[in-house]
């Protein structure tokens, strides 16, 4: 794995960017790609869309979302403790013992309970109603200055390099962003015009993907996102995605069935270029592909997923080889006919 790509993954996953607050991520990506693309623009919603022109007369789109899950301050209690609500799908279990960051201020999570029984019950039935965030202040006034109502927080856990694997918060979907950046930098002789859509607010409802193609006619759209890896002890038996076995070509998930021709196109490109791949049938979840399918007159869409362990936790783990193979696969697709 190239050291540069590792650094890119570290930098981009450690950035702060919950849904609706993707500014830092967008600025970072713009800086990374601006010298390598023919056109770059930001739309009204905040999607960043870059173009690399081709000659085939066809346009394909690769999508990765910039936002990560988080929390938002909804109430400040008398002594300066915060109450929060989820931004995207947040399992409160993951908040216990994690560090959160609000406006640069670290917070930790405590559980309410006025008797041992209540405390025990609350641990069993964790919800955002029975936990609170402590940002190390002693008064409501102090908390209001640092993290007023409406302040967004994210996990604060950083990047870990394991050699073949790596781990960080927000791999969902900064790894997709990193893959697109790397693809842009490596892309040569693309036949198709390729749009790279770095989208906003996927985690709260696939918002960005519904409008990112407004100014473009797109023939095929592919979301690059993470999917669950089921290679851990006693993992769900009905699915087989695993780290290191290559990018996953999604057949379906809970929100979309991938276009069959798109699936065949990706599979044939992988086969012809000896790129390993896996098929993915996810019994839950969804990606921006669902948004592209419902945009305009319906764009034939699919998803290429990076198998990832512990998605939506502060520690999302994946394999470098899957990342590299996805970059190869996307480059290949830019010159594969359909």
């Amino acid at each position: 794995m190239a050291k540069k790509l590792k650094e890119l993954i570290k930098k981009i996953t450690e950035l702060y960017g919950p849904s609706g607050r993707e500014d830092q991520v967008r600025d970072f990506i713009k800086e990374q790609i601006k010298d390598h693309v023919d056109d770059i623009k930001t739309d009204k919603l905040g999607n960043l869309i870059a173009t690399k022109k081709g000659n085939s007369g066809k346009t394909i789109l690769f999508d990765a979302h910039m936002d990560e899950i988080g929390v938002v301050v909804t109430h400040i209690l008398d002594k300066g403790f915060l109450k929060v609500e989820q931004v995207g799908g947040q399992n409160p279990v993951n908040l216990i013992g994690s560090r959160l960051i609000f406006n640069g201020r670290i917070g930790v999570v405590g559980v309410e309970g006025e008797s041992e029984k209540e405390l025990k019950d609350n641990y069993k039935n964790l919800s955002l109603d029975n936990i609170f965030v402590d940002i190390g202040v002693s008064s409501k006034e102090e908390a209001e200055k640092i993290a007023p109502i409406g302040t967004f927080g994210t996990f604060a856990e950083g990047f870990v390099d394991y050699g073949n694997y790596c781990m960080s918060k927000a791999m969902d979907d900064r790894i997709g962003c990193a893959i697109l950046i790397e693809t842009i930098k490596n892309m040569k002789d693309n036949q198709h015009t390729v749009l790279f859509a770095f989208t906003v607010q996927e985690e709260v409802g696939l918002v960005g993907s519904f409008v990112s193609t407004f100014d473009y006619e797109v023939n095929r759209a592919i979301a690059i996102d993470v999917t669950d890896s089921l290679d851990t002890p006693k993992a769900l038996k009905r699915m087989s995605m695993a780290l290191g076995k290559g990018p996953c070509i999604k057949i379906k998930d809970n929100l979309s069935v991938s276009d069959r021709e798109v699936v065949e196109w990706i599979k044939n490109a992988a086969l012809a270029n000896n790129i390993p791949y896996q098929f993915e049938v996810l019994t839950f979840g969804g990606t921006n592909a669902a948004g592209y399918q419902r945009t305009k007159s319906g764009i034939p869409s699919g998803t290429i997923s990076i198998p990832t362990r512990y998605i939506h936790s502060p520690h999302e783990m994946l394999s470098y080889s899957d990342v590299e193979n996805t970059v190869k696969l996307l480059n290949t697709l830019s010159k594969t006919n359909f």
């Binding site: 967004f152 709260v204 519904f210």
Partner: protein, 340 residues
């Protein structure tokens, strides 16, 4: 101000059946706006041209209310109903309803001494509506499958509070009508070309506003709503969504969307400058038309301002009149001369 709220809440109009509300609004604004159009989804779009026509502002409030449809006519002349929009079956029991605004009806209630399982909630499958018919044949002459059913509630005011059904979202419609009146009575113009969209079918999935916006092509939008209070005294304030009496509710995030930060902050600044009491929505559940607007055309940025109402989606909700006035003042200020 507040000339229309009583009439608006007394009228019946579930999702897809907003025609009476629309006629009422149309007849009261017709000569006061520059242009009135309707689209295929039934949205009523009223334009008042601004001083600056380089930008378009869309104000949005939905005309539909939650209610029911007749889905079954039983052998004994009673009816089965299904909710249109989110109506918890717990608020339906023992209520008075109106079928197509004409026929009075009541919902069954098991006699207390026969009710063994007191914790059990009667679901729509077993809820029966009585309207004075003794058999299916008789009932079928007057009532048909798909007929609209609404709560039979009449608006009243008591001191600084108003009680009615359908504050969600007739209160938004009422504020938009008040603002149209303001421009008319003062011969004034809004800052930008302002499209007042009285939307359909919000309660069944934000279905109306998208087509209206596609026609208008607004630069930005402000969605006006009646929102939940949930300020029950047995809960601590950190569990409340909003509190009636604390002023207009400003939303930074709700189901399906984080609201545009610049617009949100502009609304907050405007409220501060006006010196009115305001509050933030402290629960993020439940969405508004803003979530649909963000997915429409190029992604229309929007803000959401709501009047807090206690017990929404029920036969009786309570609203504070000062909250209404403050919300009106805030929205008016935004439309009259706040640059975006």
């Amino acid at each position: 101000m507040r000339k229309y709220l009583k009439d608006l809440t007394n009228l019946a109009g579930i999702s897809s059946r907003e025609e009476k509300i629309k006629e009422y609004i149309k007849s009261n604004v017709a000569n006061k706006v520059d242009e009135i159009t309707e689209d295929n989804m039934g949205n009523l779009i009223c334009l008042i041209k601004g001083k600056d026509s380089s930008k378009k502002l869309m104000l949005d409030a939905h005309m539909d209310e939650v209610g029911f449809m007749i889905t079954r006519i039983n052998e004994d002349g009673t009816f089965g109903i299904s909710p249109v929009g989110g109506v918890d079956p717990r608020v339906v029991k023992s209520q008075r309803l109106k079928i197509e605004e004409k026929i009075s009806a009541v919902v069954n209630s098991t006699p207390i001494h026969l009710e063994k399982e007191t914790d059990k909630v009667e679901q729509y499958e077993s809820i029966r509506v009585y309207a004075g018919f003794s058999n299916k044949e008789e009932a079928s002459k007057k009532v048909h499958l798909g007929d609209m059913v609404t709560f039979d509630t009449t608006y009243y005011e008591e001191n600084s509070y108003a009680v009615a059904k359908a504050f969600d979202d007739r209160v938004g419609c009422s504020i938009m009508m008040d603002i149209i009146d303001y421009f008319f009575e003062n011969s004034e113009k809004p800052l930008y070309d302002t499209y007042f969209n009285f939307a359909t079918q919000e309660e069944t999935g934000l279905r109306g506003t998208g087509t209206a916006a596609s026609k208008i092509h607004p630069n930005f939008a402000i969605v006006l709503e009646g929102t939940t209070a949930g300020d029950n005294p047995e809960n601590t304030p950190d569990k409340w969504a909003t509190h009636i009496g604390n002023g207009p509710v400003l939303t930074f995030m709700h189901s399906g969307l984080v609201l545009n930060k610049e617009i949100f902050e502009k609304i907050v600044d405007t409220a501060k400058k006006l010196g009115i009491k305001f509050q933030y929505k402290m629960r993020t559940a439940g969405g508004t038309d803003a979530a649909r607007l963000a997915k429409t055309l190029y992604g229309i940025p929007a803000g959401v301002i709501s009047v807090p109402c206690r017990y929404i989606h029920s036969p009786q909700s309570i609203m504070n009149l000062q909250d209404y006035e403050n919300t009106y003042q805030l929205v008016k200020q935004l439309v009259v001369n706040t640059p975006f």
